[in-house]
């Protein structure tokens, strides 16, 4: 690990932005205002100026509530969406502007696991077909026997009996389907796995099984993960670094242990306090006022200011930059920078 740290990170995201246009086409952009026809197009600001890095062997978790842009980040990195601005580098190579054929070798290295194993497996393909397809695609020269062996080996490693290969996805339970989806990602020996809420649709006892499987794969194959989730207890267990997103912007990035023992951003603190605790009788839940504003018209200044108890005039006008903290975390908050947080809490 120590020598890897001096190297460049495996994945670098620099000033990434993604906007989705709401008004597409010329006619939709025409609006009638104050007696005049004007052209105006609105867009959803899903991701705003996000910079993140993941080093080899890390599990970078991206957490946040619905609408914070975490899935958009995953899709941008996987190359399923094209960024509006910013750069994504993988292994030193810029990947966000590659052509389809240029992306081809990377698709083998970067694989994705989706939330819903009921939707991510083709219902008309047997498990064997579903698992063999990526191998055939990425290793066109492999013989049928080699493909078969590869698939059998991966099935065994995720705990799916190879004799089930002739079955169709509907014959499996949710947990088994997610194992199959993980197997499909692993058949081409990837280096980097993007997992978008991979266990949210599963029962508690099955979540543990799948999470263990992903941890095993991480150790035995030296995988690096970009793990998207809303579940903080999973983050604490699985992640090595965490990025907290709010309304398309990064609030705080820190090592998992640092973030959970010493959260700094007011939103991170509120988020952590809201998790229902098993054994605490009296939770001291920090109540947030209001709700997440719409990402169509982003508030000026800090995205969190409308719900933040520490917001002042500066927060309303100036968007905070991510600033390095002494313990290695990065926090984008004026109140943290000015050291007002704990002063207010104490007074």
């Amino acid at each position: 690990m120590s020598d890897a740290k001096t190297d460049r990170p495996l994945l670098e995201i620099k000033n990434l932005e993604k906007r989705f246009d709401l008004d597409q086409g010329f006619l939709e952009t025409l609006k009638f205002k104050q007696g005049k026809i004007v052209r105006e197009s609105r867009s959803v600001h899903a991701v705003n100026n996000i910079s993140l890095e993941a080093r080899k062997g890390e599990a970078l978790c991206v957490v946040g509530e619905s609408g914070c842009g975490k899935s958009t980040v995953a899709r941008l990195v996987a190359g399923l969406l094209t960024p509006s601005a910013g750069e994504i580098h993988y292994g030193g190579q810029r990947i966000d502007n590659l052509s389809r054929s240029g992306m081809q070798p990377l698709r083998k290295k970067i694989q994705m696991i989706f939330q819903n194993p009921y939707a991510s497996l083709n219902p008309r393909m047997t498990i064997r077909q579903a698992l063999e397809e990526p191998v055939r695609h990425h290793y066109p020269n492999a013989s049928a026997a080699e493909v078969r062996d590869k698939v059998t080996e991966v099935m065994l490693s995720v705990g799916v009996d190879p004799s089930w290969a002739k079955r169709y996805p509907h014959e499996f339970s949710g947990g088994q389907r997610q194992r199959i989806a993980i197997a499909r990602a692993l058949t081409v020996d990837p280096e980097f796995i993007i997992a978008d809420e991979p266990i949210s649709a599963l029962d508690v006892s099955i979540q543990a099984q799948v999470l263990n499987l992903m941890l095993e794969a991480k150790e035995s194959r030296g995988l690096t993960y970009l793990f998207i989730t809303h579940d903080l207890s999973v983050v604490e267990h699985f992640g090595t670094r965490v990025a907290v997103l709010y309304l398309g912007s990064v609030c705080e990035v820190a090592d998992t242990a640092t973030l959970f023992s010493n959260p700094k951003h007011p939103y991170t603190r509120a988020l952590l306090s809201a998790v229902p605790q098993l054994k605490d009788d009296r939770p001291n839940h920090i109540r947030l006022k209001g709700e997440i504003p719409t990402p169509i018209n982003l508030p000026k200044g800090c995205p969190f200011q409308s719900r933040c108890a520490f917001a002042d005039a500066r927060c309303k006008s100036e968007k905070p930059k991510a600033i390095h903290q002494p313990d290695g975390s990065m926090v984008a908050c004026h109140a943290v920078e000015e050291d007002r947080l704990d002063a207010v809490a104490a007074g």
Binding site: S205, A208, N212, H237, F238, A257, L278, E291
Partner: protein, 331 residues
């Protein structure tokens, strides 16, 4: 007298080629104003229990045997008129997805006023005033304006608050909440939980909270039932069950949570899956997944008995407790 008393409730589903048992002899009581949690994984029968309490099961499901005494009257035997008087009026239900519960083509006001006028002899204006008061109780800002809005104009958290307001409209004795916060974000979930707790306590309303989330149960309820494959396998005070579970399944469920393991270590998983209703194993339904299972477990269904502070359905609970690793784990 308890508010609700369920005795030997058995629910079956008549499928084309066979009849499966979804609930198998469930019995429990709920005192006035008490908050009870029902936990279990998908397929355990917790939602079916909720539906049965209001006699809402529709074909192919039916209540085969058993009694559901609500304020002394058997819900199973009620005719349609009595049931209409019961549902929404004395017992109300909150579901997971507010968008399914709310009618998308009616305004919030229409839906609330309709409910009130169907059950009480009220003028439209009186009903409207009650609706405003109830919306204010669930901390909805500017309730007069909300009454004119349609469900799609509101956020998820706001919709769930409105569902709670509708459930409380007629001051019911009991609210059955089926995964009320599962679809919500954690910060909103915490708000809604706080609100429900506050309303239940201040109005002395009984609550049956159906959820898979042990953290939610731990913070919201006084007593808990743990269900597995259509039976109650453990019941008792929530604190006891969370801190010192007796049934191997409950133990497994709690130990499987990520917060119970050192970060980065292997989670303590329960092997296998919950059995389907058509293939519930003989004996104790949990035996194929249980590391303590014996021949007795594989042949005879355990009865639910008092053990220490809780009730538990497990043949091996005594041995389990004298088990050395468990003693060590506790120490």
């Amino acid at each position: 007298m308890s508010l609700l008393s369920v005795r030997d409730l058995t629910v079956k589903f008549a499928m084309r080629d066979q009849t499966v048992t979804a609930l198998n002899g469930i019995s429990f009581d709920l005192a006035k104003g008490e908050r009870l949690g029902i936990v279990g994984e998908s397929g355990a029968g917790k939602s079916i229990t909720g539906f049965s309490l209001m006699n809402l099961l529709s074909r192919p499901g039916y209540i085969d045997t058993g009694k559901i005494l609500f304020e002394g009257e058997d819900v199973v035997q009620m005719n349609d008129k009595r049931l209409r008087n019961l549902r929404g009026n004395r017992m109300a239900m909150i579901f997971q997805d507010p968008m399914v519960t709310l009618n998308p083509v009616l305004t919030i006001g229409q839906q609330m006023i309709e409910t009130l006028m169907a059950h009480r002899k009220l003028s439209h204006e009186e009903a409207r005033q009650i609706a405003i008061v109830k919306l204010r109780e669930v901390y909805i800002p500017s309730p007069e304006e909300r009454l004119e809005q349609y469900p799609h104009e509101l956020s998820g958290g706001m919709r769930q608050r409105i569902i709670i307001a509708i459930a409380l409209l007629l001051d019911p004795q009991l609210i059955i909440a089926d995964e009320p916060t599962t679809a919500l974000d954690v910060t909103i979930q915490a708000d809604i939980m706080e609100l429900m707790l506050e309303l239940c306590q201040s109005n002395q309303v009984g609550l049956i909270l159906i959820t898979h989330d042990l953290g939610v149960v731990s913070q919201m309820t006084e007593r808990t039932l743990v269900m597995y494959a259509g039976r109650i396998i453990e019941a008792g005070r929530t604190r006891e069950i969370i801190n010192d579970p007796q049934h191997p399944y409950t133990q497994g469920l709690i130990n499987a949570l990520p917060q119970q393991t050192v970060p980065g270590q292997r989670l303590k998983q329960i092997p296998g899956n919950m059995p389907g209703l058509a293939s519930i194993p003989e004996g104790c339904a949990f035996n194929p997944r249980c590391k303590y299972a014996t021949d007795l477990c594989r042949s005879r269904i355990p009865e639910i008995v008092h053990y220490g502070e809780v009730e538990v359905a497990c043949h091996e609970v005594q041995r389990l407790n004298s088990d050395e690793d468990r003693q060590e784990a506790r120490a």
